[in-house]
């Protein structure tokens, strides 16, 4: 069997900018959509009295979404080419559903930002780009859609591309790829179009398949949060003690000298198990079981790392958060926090500033956060967390806040730094 890699990308937008048409075309051309699904969408479109097949009905799977003709929640779609398996997180673009856009962006390797060539970079595309950068998506593709409606004008394409690049630069984001295309007619979606002799770059699918785009994994800092201690307590495995977890960064090898944080115990890896296999090396994002030379007190929430590349241990930190609850957040609020595999309680010691997603200005002196607000907070936690800045490692740099009275997830957090006391 040939090996193929996996890439996750997020899309966002409204019905009008052609996002659903673009996804529909990618799925259709890569055989990610089936005849019964298409027949279903055609019939549903007919029943609604539309004169053309509305491909949005393919992804808008919930009754409420169909009734209102909008995307409310993230839909996951899958397709594969011989080179890659793709997971699309298709998210709503409306400000009211920012939290769902954040959900889709949190696991994406690539953000696909779609704009209508006639309208350029409008507020929704700005918001999607901004959130994508805040969520640390390391690669971005600007799809300038409906190029046929501006007569395939290279000047118009360059203008939009420039405007978008300026926005990204202001946010310290990655240099975006830009593609002129028509989702409706299929130009530059799967193959290079003859309508754009002035465009030398790849078609969208060619770019998505290319080695230029890689999964967003921290390959340099070895990180392993213990999830579950495996102790069979059976005759055959009397002394077996393994630490189950998923490698959150870098790689580990048998023989590595490791440090276990926050306690600071030092030991050596004697075995790396995966099912019945014994591995010499393992790397992110593999789920494995580590065995160590010494019998130490190690449990869920502890972080295994290498002595020369240690994360920080702190109970006071500064973070960007997206507030996702209708109930406002005020300073001094106490919430449950989940960071890697550790739960603790966190108190908001200060709301430092709030981000205006439209102007990108920081608004100081904020007393509370409302639904969908993005802000910088200072937090203190009841037990120490073993952290990296989010910009370095998305897994050890992220957390969620949970309301202890309802158990709802109310915030997504991205760590900026530890605060020295």
């Amino acid at each position: 069997m040939s090996t193929m890699s996996m890439l996750r990308f997020s899309t966002a937008g409204s019905v009008d900018d052609g996002k659903s048409t673009l996804i529909g075309r990618l799925l259709f051309d890569a055989k990610g959509i089936f005849e019964d699904q298409l027949a279903h969408v055609e019939e549903a479109s007919r029943r609604r009295g539309f004169d053309r097949t509305d491909l949005a009905l393919l992804t808008d799977g919930l009754r409420a979404e169909r009734e209102q003709g909008i995307t409310i929640d993230v839909a996951y779609r899958y397709f594969a080419t011989p080179k890659r398996k793709f997971i699309i997180a298709d998210t709503p673009g409306h400000i009211q559903y920012t939290r769902n856009m954040v959900t889709g962006a949190s696991t994406a390797d690539v953000a696909l930002v779609l704009v209508d060539a006639r309208h350029g970079v409008v507020e929704q595309s700005r918001r999607h780009a901004t959130l994508s950068i805040l969520l640390g998506i390391p690669q971005m593709i600007l799809c300038v859609n409906k190029m046929d409606l501006v007569d395939w004008s290279p000047a118009r394409f360059d203008e939009i591309k420039r405007e978008f690049a300026q926005l990204i630069a202001k946010l310290n984001g990655p240099t975006p790829y830009a593609i002129p295309l028509s989702a409706l007619h299929g130009d530059n979606v799967v193959t290079h179009s003859d309508k754009t002799p002035w465009y030398q770059g790849p078609a969208l699918l060619e770019l998505l398949e290319s080695d230029a785009l890689v999964p967003a994994i921290d390959t340099t800092h070895p990180r392993f949060a213990v999830q579950w201690v495996i102790r069979p307590q059976s005759e055959a495995f009397h002394d077996y003690r393994g630490y189950g977890g998923q490698i959150a960064g870098g790689s580990f090898s048998v023989g590595d000298e490791v440090i276990v944080l926050p306690a600071g115990h030092v030991s050596r890896i004697t075995a790396i198990d995966l099912g019945t296999q014994s591995l010499a090396h393992a790397r992110a994002p593999q789920s494995v079981t580590l065995r160590l030379a010494d019998d130490l007190d190690i449990s869920r929430g502890d972080m295994i790392s290498l002595a020369n590349s240690q994360p920080m241990v702190t109970n006071h930190l500064r973070a960007r958060v997206c507030w996702m609850a209708t109930k406002p957040l005020t300073a001094r609020s106490t919430l449950a926090i989940k960071h890697t595999t550790r739960w603790a309680r966190a108190m908001v010691t200060q709301i430092e500033s709030k981000l205006d997603v439209t102007t990108l200005e920081a608004i100081p002196n904020v007393t509370k956060l409302e639904l969908n607000d993005i802000a910088t907070l200072a937090l203190k936690t009841t037990s120490p967390l073993v952290i990296d800045p989010y910009a370095i490692n998305r897994r050890t740099g992220s957390f969620i806040l949970v309301d202890e009275s309802t158990n709802s997830t109310v915030a997504a957090g991205m760590i900026e730094a530890a605060i020295d006391d």
Partner: protein, 304 residues
Amino acid sequence: MLKESYSLDHLDALEAEAIFIFREIAAERERPVLLFSGGKDSIVLLRLAEKAFRPARFPFPVMHVDTGHNFAEATDFRDKRMQELGERLIVASVQQSIDEGRAVEETGPRASRNRLQTVTLLDAIATHQFDACFGGARRDEERARAKERIFSFRDEFGQWDPKNQRPELWSLYNGRVKKGEHLRVFPISNWTEMDVYQYIKRESLEIPSIYFAHEREVFSRDGMLYAVSHAVTLGPTESAFRETVRFRTVGDMSCTGAVRSTARTIDEIIDEVAVSRVTERGATRADDRFSEAAMEDRKREGYF
């Protein structure tokens, strides 16, 4: 940023994610259970659970909701596989729910016990006080499932509220529930039918014989082929004939259709899936055909 660029094979990446999900639930919930149907997806779940917890035992039992209308090949397979694994099996019986008056058998030629499974499942969850149920559902199967979280919250009534799902960020799953509530957990949410067969091949997993082409007595209804069995009654215009078929899903005999196929090996199945133009549920499941949102409605009631 200086970074070595590499990526795992897609099956390794999917496997790693699923193992992580299994271990999160084991650590955060007190009484999980793995729902096993005898079908290919739950067979994959068992292998993933082995990779998550061996050489120790699974920290949860396995449960099968038996409609009494299951394919004999699937229940035989279930018993054999459980014996090999040495794990604890609980069988929750739809027949028993009917006998106790908890569920009422549907009548007429199209009667099915598919929907009754929800009663049996929710009763079993309450009896055993399960607070998390692993299931083999995949998002590519059906449009309501495409929207469902990996940790999917159920209230005291076992209901799913699609408009009020918890945000699910990164791999920071929120496994918190109150007494009486539970989670449905789908470790292979991001797998497609093709991924499942490729994994079965890679891991040399056995699957029930009905997945492979075989000759059997069938009849045609609504453009689908069904097995002739004690679970169905043929209408006056329906007649039985022999055909070479295989099943793409393994569900209740009353609503699981067969497809014409000559695929007799896992490689031949993979080739067949690669050129298939119809989804597995579209080809074989009558239960999704009731309405545009048939699955969403059943899930709201507490279905798998």
